[in-house]
């Protein structure tokens, strides 16, 4: 089976450079979006012995020029996990653009590589809008199953357990298909040294919107990104006995009127 796996090179929110007034996007490193590692693991399992697993990434964070090397280093990790080939769509016009354009670019790569199934993470750590899987499916005209925590693919059909807020749905769908997975679906492998070395020889293809024949304009634009200031009291008690700490906490709760009935 040929599997395409979507890998977001996300802004590493754990290392976000923030000042009072600005978000230092360009100074913040990228990372593989956490749940996409689960997607890669699932893709490599699905591929089996005969098929091919190809990753697709669209670079969304500027500066595109300077990020390409950083992106390729991250994609080596994906290749080391067992993916055979990586596609990187890097184009100034996609940085800060909307999901409409991203989905168009992804779908076009999927068409070119001829995948039977597209696997993605349920959402990415930086944007967390969870909309790419359903958009890519719309673009391809394929069915889709999101929030999948168990997946079995056999004989041109997939059976999945989908995790919704208040219930789990067991569903069946025909291939070709788009699937998004949750973190609970598997434990992503840590590549061996041998696999890391082998990954250095695997191909990474770089494409722009022109190569994909996409000339459309985004529907929305990121106009501004500003830090969210949380102003909390931050009274942190480190010193003293446990009794003293507990009493100071209760004093605080009472002074602030947090505990009613006092």
């Amino acid at each position: 089976m040929n599997v395409a796996v979507l890998v977001k090179l996300a802004l590493d929110t754990g290392q976000l450079r923030l000042s009072q007034s600005a978000v230092g996007v360009e100074e913040t490193p990228l990372k593989i979006s956490d749940i996409d590692r689960n997607a890669v693991e699932e893709a490599v399992k699905l591929r089996g012995n005969a098929g091919k697993a190809v990753s697709i990434s669209v670079l969304k964070w500027p500066p595109v020029g300077r990020r390409t090397q950083e992106a390729e280093n991250l994609l080596r990790e994906v290749l080391a996990m067992g993916v055979d080939e990586a596609y990187l769509v890097a184009d100034e016009a996609l940085a800060g653009s909307d999901h409409y354009m991203t989905a168009k670019a992804i779908a076009e790569v999927v068409r070119r590589i001829g995948a039977d199934i597209v696997v993605a993470g349920e959402a990415t750590v930086d944007g967390y809008t969870a909309q790419i899987p359903a958009r890519v499916a719309a673009e391809l005209g394929w069915p889709y199953l999101t929030y999948v925590r168990e997946l079995r693919v056999e004989g041109g059909r997939a059976v999945a357990r989908r995790d919704l807020e208040d219930r789990v749905l067991v569903v069946e769908a025909d291939l070709p298909l788009v699937v998004s997975v949750t973190r609970e679906i598997n434990v992503p492998r840590i590549p061996t040294l041998l696999a890391i070395r082998a990954a250095m020889k695997k191909p990474i293809a770089r494409l722009g919107l022109g190569d994909l024949g996409i000339g459309e304009a985004p529907r929305a634009r990121l106009a501004e990104l500003r830090p969210l200031m949380v102003s909390r009291r931050r009274l942190i008690v480190k010193e003293g006995t446990v009794e003293e700490k507990v009493d100071r906490f209760i004093d605080f709760l009472m002074e602030e009127g947090i505990l009613r009935g006092t």
Binding site: L18, Q131, P143, L164, A173, A220, E224, V242, E243, T262
Partner: protein, 295 residues
């Protein structure tokens, strides 16, 4: 210009922006409630919501659609948005019409930043936390049925309801929340006991519900769990990763108990105790009982 809305809150929002609201409901009950706020409601009892959105866009036209925030509704919105060539901004916290474009805000980057988008109509949204509840309306709108197809390539085999207790974290005044700082399931009793003294509900971090399964998922707080807004959120043995914090930002007060003085949670608290939860919790429960009992 029109707005397609699926809740009374969204209808009020649309009216404030000077848009004529049109309703989209999934059940007769929803349709009845919506009809109090809009002139016309389409009820789609079964079939693909994405197809309903696309059909209504084609037949009625809208500049804005405000849809429910459930996973299924979000999927439908994303799917429809691609088909009609629209932007989709889930969990919007602010939306305004500025000239011929919408300006929408939403929290991004683990809720450390606010992104402002400028989007051409049509724009699809779901509303984030903080939207005001709206009472019954008296618009007396007309209710019409809209029938759409089903995607036959996807077939439902069975449905398993998730276990439901009496937990309503969204309504809780005080939440005692537990994380991986607890060494075993039985130890959660310490938190449940404290919660009882405080009249609180018990929440948890993702690993407690998803990986360890020590508590049902209805306790799970965070980006992929519940968004809560209690008077007091007390995080016990929770490190405070961005994805957890994302669920608790609307709390009036945040407090934490953690043995690691460098735990990120302490950046987000009003009050923090650096110590072993196994020592703090029993004593806190006992002292609270004494001091509250005296009052």
């Amino acid at each position: 210009m029109r707005a397609l809305v699926s809740s009374p809150e969204a209808a009020v929002l649309a009216r404030e922006m000077g848009l004529e609201a049109l309703g989209l409901a999934r059940t007769d009950e929803e349709a009845r409630r919506l009809a109090g706020h809009v002139g016309r409601v389409y009820v789609v009892r079964s079939g693909s919501v994405a197809e309903a959105i696309v059909t209504l866009y084609r037949d009625e036209g809208f500049a804005l659609a405000v849809l429910p925030g459930t996973r299924e509704a979000r999927d439908a919105a994303a799917h429809a948005a691609q088909l009609i060539g629209a932007a989709f901004v889930p969990d919007a916290v602010n939306v305004a019409l500025a000239g011929d474009k919408f300006r929408v805000e939403r929290l991004v980057l683990g809720n450390k930043a606010v992104a402002v988008y400028e989007a051409h109509p049509p724009l699809l949204l779901t509303l984030g936390p903080g939207s005001r509840p709206v009472g019954e309306g008296s618009a007396g709108g007309e209710i019409r049925e809209l029938s759409v197809g089903e995607d036959r390539r996807v077939r439902s085999l069975s449905v398993e309801e998730k276990p439901k207790g009496a937990v309503r974290l969204e309504d809780a005044e005080i939440i005692v929340s537990v994380g991986r700082g607890f060494k075993k399931k039985e130890d959660l009793q310490l938190a449940f006991h404290l919660a009882e003294v405080l009249g609180a509900q018990v929440g948890c971090s993702r690993p407690i519900a998803a990986d360890l399964k020590w508590l049902p998922e209805e306790h799970w707080v965070g980006l992929s769990g519940k968004k809560v807004s209690p008077r007091l959120y007390l995080a016990v043995g929770i490190s405070g990763q961005a994805q957890h914090i994302a669920g608790i930002l609307n709390s009036k007060y945040i407090a934490a108990i953690n043995s690691d003085p460098n735990a990120p949670i302490f950046q987000y608290v009003d009050f923090g105790i650096v110590d072993d939860l196994y020592k703090v919790l029993p004593l806190l429960a006992q002292r609270l009982k004494e001091r509250l009992g005296r009052a």
